[in-house]
Symmetry: C2
Subunit: 200 residues, 2 copies
């Protein structure tokens, strides 16, 4: 044993992330462990700590991929939508559908608390910011009478709202069953919010 060099550092990272994603998809965030990942890629736990700082670091990279896929979906929905209000509704629908279809990975992005001392890197924060930027862009056509700051604030309030419905619904705390009801709730929130936002 030792000194196998079967895989490069980059290959190892790639294998680990992919294996970890599989575990999260199947067993959820709580089912993930360094030992399971190591076994899945045919290495020892120690090796994992040679290519990742720790488990948080590995999770960060999984979450990055999830955010990339989510952003891609959201972005794609904006290419063929109707008026501004419709486009924002589409963003909401896509968000809910994504969370419903890939609940474990989606939940890990927003539920995993990184340890106090661990700084969330800038490149990761930007992936979050990029999502809000889409909402902001969607709000612009509806906000002729609003300042930039007001649009930013509106995007945060609105998307916080969509996110909250999504979280509570998936956790079963909203007393609703099925994705369709969640989509309805989201639609209610966005529509009414926009009415208020535009009729100032």
């Amino acid at each position: 044993m030792a000194r196998r060099s079967d895989h490069s550092r980059e290959e190892l990272r790639e294998m680990a992330i992919t294996a970890a994603e599989q575990i999260v998809v199947e067993q959820g965030y709580e089912g993930l462990s360094a030992r399971k990942v190591a076994t899945a890629i045919g290495y020892t736990v120690g090796t994992l700590y040679l290519v990742f700082e720790n488990l948080d670091d590995l999770i960060l990279h999984i979450n990055a991929r999830t955010l990339d896929r989510l952003h891609a979906h959201m972005n794609e929905s904006q290419l063929h939508c109707g008026d501004a209000s419709d486009c924002l509704l589409q963003l909401g629908q896509v968000y809910i559908r994504f969370a419903d279809e890939d609940p474990h990975r989606w939940a890990m992005v927003f539920e995993h608390r990184f340890s106090e001392d661990q700084v969330v890197p800038v490149w990761f924060q930007e992936k979050i910011a990029r999502m809000f930027a889409l909402v902001e862009k969607g709000l612009e056509p509806l906000a002729e009478q609003h300042t930039r700051d007001e649009i930013t604030q509106a995007s945060r309030a609105l998307w916080g709202g969509v996110h909250g419905i999504c979280i509570l619904a998936l956790a079963g705390n909203l007393g609703v069953a099925g994705v369709d009801s969640v989509q309805d709730l989201t639609k209610t929130l966005i529509t009414n919010y926009l009415k208020g936002f535009t009729n100032n």
Copy 2:
């Protein structure tokens, strides 16, 4: 040792819950462990499993208390508020303030995932429902033209929204700092939503 009978079953439960709450407040949800609770009350881990089914069961009881306190605050805010819109704003403010002042216990209520097989008891679900009932009650005066179902839906959408802002903000995902900004976002959400809800 053994057969001490220093405390009744009820006393043990009470001691354990209180000690566990202290640990959660200080170290957060991740810092809680059966062994720490046992040590804190001067008993062995085994004893904890004599008075609680498992750790989830203990957490459930802590969360119940947190929800009771939250409900008390929210309820109290409804006694001396102004018009309907102001009352709903107060609910939001109280919610945000509670989460900000007691983040660890608040987070545990909504972030802790109970194991698949564990059924969330009805008495607990009712404590969640009671919170939404307050919002529903607040919406009623504003909803003369809406059906009961629409009011229920509106309360879920609106409160999901407030909750989402709260979660994202406390996790640092909204790019806002300080409670005041979160209060502003909540106010934006509620005000605009209500405008849309009433101007049908």
